[in-house]
């Protein structure tokens, strides 16, 4: 059974402007995409800014309601069966937001451990382990507002692992991390996969996607362009583009650029 099932998923946003928000406008952020993710798989969701990646993740983590279509995690609907899902998943968003900046890293993690209802006798040990993992043990009791962007991002990573999730959603998790920090995170992701964690990853780093993901879906303006293993996607590069690239080894980035540009008719 697939851990994540997405079928004909649609999400629209209605915004209003003008006096009393009378000029209504509907934005179709996700337009009927379908994919599934198997247990223990690292699945990549790639696309330009505004392609609908984050919106898809927000629906999968029970933060947003789908407009229509099927969206199930661990066999449960993300809208209406949130209780069965939330304690078994977690998520990490890129950037320095999503944590309490006026609290210390340790206080942040302890608080989220409480929200995930982790027993007090294992909570403190887990917090220490995670601080060690993200290399923040020596700054654990310092307010996050004094941290660099990369350090704040590492607190986010630790927060996302606080409940030892079965399914982890990573939305551009290496944003703000230096190359060493990014490599450490990739190492953590590999270890989690080896332990059976299912991971859905969005990233703009094609090397990262190629290295980590078993399968990749590329979306554009809310629509699915292609889905397959990195190798399959690379093999779809047209002969013309292969000549243009003029390199022995075709990268995922080459294939991605062709796919995204190609769908514009370029």
């Amino acid at each position: 059974m697939a851990v994540i099932e997405v079928k004909d998923l649609v999400r629209d946003f209605t915004t209003g402007d003008g006096l009393f928000n009378r000029n209504k406008r509907t934005i179709n952020a996700v337009k009927g995409i379908s994919f599934h993710v198997e247990k223990g798989e690292i699945f990549g969701l790639l696309g330009q800014n505004g392609a609908g990646k984050t919106t898809t993740i927000k629906m999968l983590i029970t933060m947003l309601a789908p407009t229509s279509g099927t969206c199930r995690v661990l066999g449960y609907d993300v809208f209406g069966q949130e209780k069965q899902i939330r304690h078994r998943i977690n998520f990490i968003f890129g950037g320095e937001y999503g944590i309490y900046r006026r609290l210390s890293a340790r206080d942040n993690l302890k608080y989220f451990a409480n929200l995930y209802k982790i027993d007090k006798n294992i909570r403190d040990k887990r917090v220490d382990e995670l601080l060690e993992l993200v290399e923040l043990s020596d700054r654990a009791d310092t307010r996050v507002e004094t941290f660099s962007k990369g350090m704040a991002q590492r607190v986010q990573i630790a927060r996302g692992l606080i409940n030892n999730p079965e399914v982890l959603f990573l939305d551009e998790p290496t944003i703000g991390l230096d190359p060493l920090g990014a490599e450490n995170l990739r190492e953590v992701i590999r270890k989690l996969q080896a332990g059976g964690t299912t991971i859905l990853l969005t990233t703009h780093n094609m090397y990262e996607a190629d290295e980590l993901c078993g399968r990749i879906a590329i979306i554009k303006q809310g629509e699915l362009l292609t889905l397959g293993t990195p190798q399959e996607i690379k093999s779809r590069l047209t002969p013309r583009r292969v000549v243009e690239v003029a390199r022995d080894e075709i990268t995922l980035e080459d294939a991605y650029i062709q796919l995204v540009k190609g769908s514009d008719g370029q």
Partner: protein, 258 residues
């Protein structure tokens, strides 16, 4: 037990981070002083009873309202901008308990504003204060806090639906203080407006609080019964609204700014 832990940790962390904000320190310490001076000068020649009722207690209640309403609404706004609102909403913890913990934390801090206002009023204007029944005053104070907590919960639920929290905060502050008679009797308002005043628990809480000090106007029981009824109505309304509002927040996507 874990539910109590969610409320407790939300409360303590709320107090910790709220107190770290300079704006809150201003609201807590300077706001009450300014409110007391404005009301003190307005009521300086209005008689001892009015002075105690509308300056000593009025400034305290207004400061309490400012601190609770502004910090609760402000927190939702702040957490929405920092994306923590949507994150805590998506955890397994009951979001009602998280909000309740935060409101408790704000209430405890806001009590500082109340007592500081009373202190400033006494120090600056040295009014003659007569309390007929300290026991009733204590009960009235506890019920007043409970009434404000229920209103805060209600407002916090509603504000999750709108991203324009700051506008709502400013729209609520002064009109609510006037509507509920914090600084002058609601009988001074047009009759039609008074019907709205009667619907809100703080109107009756204020009357209840004033009785042990002034022993005029509504008696303790005459204020207590409507207070309990309106509190129960707002508590029930908040309970009914919760599911609908949070379902709607997920549909509208108003929990974060992205």
């Amino acid at each position: 037990m874990k539910s109590a832990s969610v409320i407790w940790t939300s409360m303590t962390l709320q107090m910790k981070q709220t107190f770290a904000r300079n704006m809150f320190k201003f609201t807590l310490f300077v706001g009450p002083l300014l409110t007391t001076i404005v009301l003190g000068e307005m009521f300086r020649f209005s008689g001892a009873d009015s002075f105690v009722a509308y300056v000593v207690l009025g400034s305290g209640i207004w400061s309490l309202w400012n601190s609770i309403a502004f910090s609760s609404a402000g927190d939702i706004n702040r957490e929405r901008f920092t994306n923590t609102l949507s994150i805590i909403f998506s955890t397994p913890a009951d979001f009602r308990k998280i909000l309740l913990g935060k409101i408790f934390g704000n209430t405890i801090l806001s009590m500082g504003s109340f007592f500081l206002s009373v202190f400033f009023a006494i120090i600056l204007y040295r009014p003659t204060i007569y309390v007929a029944n300290w026991g009733l005053l204590f009960v009235a104070l506890i019920l007043t806090i409970a009434a404000f907590i229920i209103m805060s919960i209600f407002i916090a639920y509603l504000l999750t639906l709108s991203r324009k929290t700051t506008i709502w905060m400013n729209c609520l502050e002064v009109p609510f203080a006037l509507l509920c008679g914090f600084v002058f009797p609601i009988e001074n308002l047009p009759q039609v407006v008074q019907y709205f005043s009667w619907a809100f628990p703080p109107t009756w809480a204020v009357r209840l609080l004033r009785y042990p000090v002034t022993e005029t106007g509504y008696t303790f029981t005459e204020a207590l019964i409507p207070l309990l009824i309106t509190m129960a109505v707002f508590a029930l309304l908040a309970g009914f609204l919760y599911k609908a509002i949070f379902k709607q927040a997920k549909v509208l996507g108003t929990l974060d700014m992205a």
